[in-house]
Amino acid sequence: MSERTQSEAFAAPRRELAADTFGMWIFLASEAMLFGALLLVFLAARIAYPQAFAAASGHLSLPLGTANTVVLITSSFTMALAHVFADAGRWRGATAGLAATGALGLVFLAVKGYEYRSEYLEGLAPVLGAPFRYEGPAPANAELFFNLYFTMTALHAAHLLGGIAVVGFVLARWRRTAAAGRLRRVTATGLYWHFVDVVWIFLFPVLYLIDR
């Protein structure tokens, strides 16, 4: 394995690793503004309709939401392990950590999909022309709650799906990647993965725990 850099702009792999990591941080700052804007929209609506939002929040599945939180935190742990192994040059451990991370991500999506399905059957989802059915106070405002819930969690799930795809890509190209490239990729992927995890850490209490 040669000590080449991927971009001609860099003379040394260490410098390129630092630049990649820094670039990922900048990208995550940008992502934080995206989710931040949506959180702000949600909070504005919640402050306007506290009772309706609290009541609607009770219709989300706390056990499934909690289970998914545990799954995602565990995936961040395996991702951190992958980085520790990659940093030490222990490639088998690194690939195992990546594979576990991707698998846990898929588990999260499966649970989330099951949640969506039961919410759709309950009549809480605004898709496919389904009518909104809800027996509680202020159904119009509750509908706003569920629509925001679907928007924010779906955007998060899309980001997670992207993360899983990247993990899969890194693993698929693993054999053809030089040592410096492996470390760069695991570092950048890991940063992104932890960010997606942190977004969920915000979404979970904000959406599920309003009145519990």
Partner: protein, 536 residues
């Protein structure tokens, strides 16, 4: 272009076929890809402006129906803001020059750079499709509830296209920030960076932090139209005003995406043609950062008459006045740079001086509209139209043209006709003022924006403005021909035709593929021109 006349080491020599261009990762070639795409959009958007001015030459609506006129100004705004002004200087001159000014071989992420162009091309062409399919009638601001509930034009498609183009903006921003941090040549400390690099850095920060908020608001508009999610719909408890907050949280900082790069360009041109170091270098550098930061805190000045609270109005008005301080710092420093200079009026300098006057004039008008009471009268009139065109066109486009002429010999290795260059620069200056100064008067007299017909008493000023638009169009078309001619027949440019300071002038024109034969070492600050005191 006669290929064999270029020295074999120039970046053109790497290949002339479509593969060499469309699969390149050379930042200099990506700059050209952007330049071609942006030129096309500039002329499309400009043609629409000419048609609108044609309609407005007479009080009654005769060329366009009201509905078509709405679609015209909407797409003029969308194209000019997102497909020309936002990427204009960063994606062309910035892409070309940033690595050269840093003494680097390329940007930090060359493949990301090329990808940004493809994303831009896809998103902008998608929006063009929306225009051809039926157009958008909401204005470039997509205000709810018109855009979400009532408009039956192609809002979703246009919003989706703009959303996609936003990714290319963010990619460029990340690339620039990381390059400035990690790729500076040995000895090139932060306070030895040219102001152009400082403004690119400040612009990139705004790009990265503001664009995602635009993305969020466009996502919500599309979801509103497709699923009726209710965020902007009062029936579900949503709030149409919320959209204005989100939109201007992006779009006011975006105003600085559309002017900071222009400030960077004139900061390079003025010292060169005054043969003087830039006055107050640190103040100019730091004021760029101040503008980027303050820019995030003033969005509410677009909503003085939208029903936001009076206290919010007062705070936003005050903060908007604060932005005038770093802008004024720059103007004063540019002016003092000219003091006792040996000024020559070459084409880039004519554009830069034009920028200085037009930007100052537009900026001062900004203080009028930032004042609460005055804005109640001026809001949604031609005064506002004149104000932001003085900044965006008088400022940014003028600087863009100046920069294009300044670095043209470096980019192409060819000299253009200096006589034609000067004629075009003067023509645009006259045409611009003739077009937009009457609009200040119109707005003050109460002529509202976005109407295709108007009472006859406004006719005099509208006719002046329409006449000016023709002159301005001629001024913008001219460079297309003589710059194009220079590519074919221009005399070869030396490495440093303007005797300018700066790393980019220390390599060949056009530069070799990896920019420098040997990585330069920097031992002094930028603008190494003689001080007035040295010449006593």
């Amino acid at each position: 272009m006669s290929a064999d006349t270029y020295p074999p080491q120039s970046y053109f020599a790497a290949g002339y076929g479509p593969r060499a261009w469309f699969l390149t990762t050379d930042h200099k070639r990506v700059a050209w890809l952007y330049l071609v795409a942006l030129t096309a959009f500039f002329f499309i958007g400009g043609a629409m402006a000419v048609v609108m001015r044609l309609e407005l030459a007479t009080p009654q609506g005769d060329v366009l129906t009201a509905d078509v006129y709405n679609r015209m100004f909407s797409i003029h705004g969308i194209i000019m803001v997102w497909f020309f002004l936002v990427p204009s200087i960063p994606a062309t001159l910035g892409n070309f020059l940033l690595p050269l000014m840093l003494g680097a071989k390329d940007l930090a992420f060359p493949r990301l750079n090329l990808a940004s162009w493809y994303v831009f091309a896809f998103g902008s062409l998608f929006t063009l499709f929306a225009v051809i399919a039926g157009g958008v009638d909401t204005g470039w601001t997509f205000y709810t509830p018109l855009s979400s509930l009532y408009s039956d034009s192609y809002v979703s498609a246009a919003a989706f296209g703009v959303f996609i183009v936003g990714f290319s903006t963010i990619m460029t921003g990340i690339n620039f920030i990381v390059s400035v941090h990690k790729l500076r040549a040995p000895g090139l400390t932060w306070f030895r960076l040219p102001i152009f690099v400082w403004t690119m850095y400040a612009t990139a920060l705004v790009m990265v932090l503001a664009t995602p908020v635009l993305a969020a608001s466009l996502i919500l508009i599309v979801l509103e139209r497709v699923f009726g999610i209710g965020v902007f719909n009062p029936e579900l408890g949503g709030d149409p005003l919320l959209f204005q907050h989100l939109f201007w949280f992006y779009s006011h900082p975006a105003v600085y995406i559309m002017i900071l790069p222009g400030m960077g360009v004139v900061s390079e041109i003025l010292p060169c043609f005054a043969r003087r170091p830039l006055f107050g270098y640190r103040a100019v550098a730091l004021s760029s950062m101040a503008i980027a930061v303050f820019g995030f805190l003033v969005w509410g000045h677009h909503m003085f008459v939208s029903g936001q609270s009076a206290y919010a109005g007062v705070v936003f008005s005050f903060l908007s006045f604060l932005v005038a301080i770093p802008s004024a710092i720059k103007v004063f420093n540019w002016t003092l740079t000219l003091r006792k200079g040996h000024i020559t009026f070459d084409t880039p300098m004519l554009y830069a001086l034009g920028f200085l006057g037009l930007f100052t004039f537009g900026g001062l008008a900004g203080l009028f509209v930032a004042s609460l009471a005055v804005d109640v009268h001026l809001h949604d009139t031609y005064f506002v139209v004149a104000h932001f065109h003085y900044i965006m066109v008088g400022g940014m486009v003028t600087a863009y043209m100046g920069g294009l002429h300044f670095w043209w010999p470096k980019m192409t290795g060819r000299m253009y006709s200096e006589l034609w260059g000067r004629i075009a620069a003067v023509t645009t200056f006259i045409g611009f003022n003739l077009t937009f100064f009457p609009q200040y008067v119109l707005g003050y007299l109460g002529m509202p924006r976005r109407y295709h017909a108007y009472p006859a008493e406004f006719a005099f000023w509208h006719v002046l403005s329409s006449t000016g638009a023709v002159v301005l169009a001629i001024g913008y078309v001219m460079p297309f021909f003589y710059l194009g001619w220079s590519l074919l027949r221009g005399s070869a440019a030396p490495a440093n035709p303007w005797r300018a300071s700066g790393l980019e002038w220390q390599t060949a024109s056009p530069p070799p593929q990896h920019n420098f034969a040997r990585t330069p070492t920097v031992t002094e600050g930028p603008y190494a021109y003689p001080e007035p005191e040295d010449e006593r």
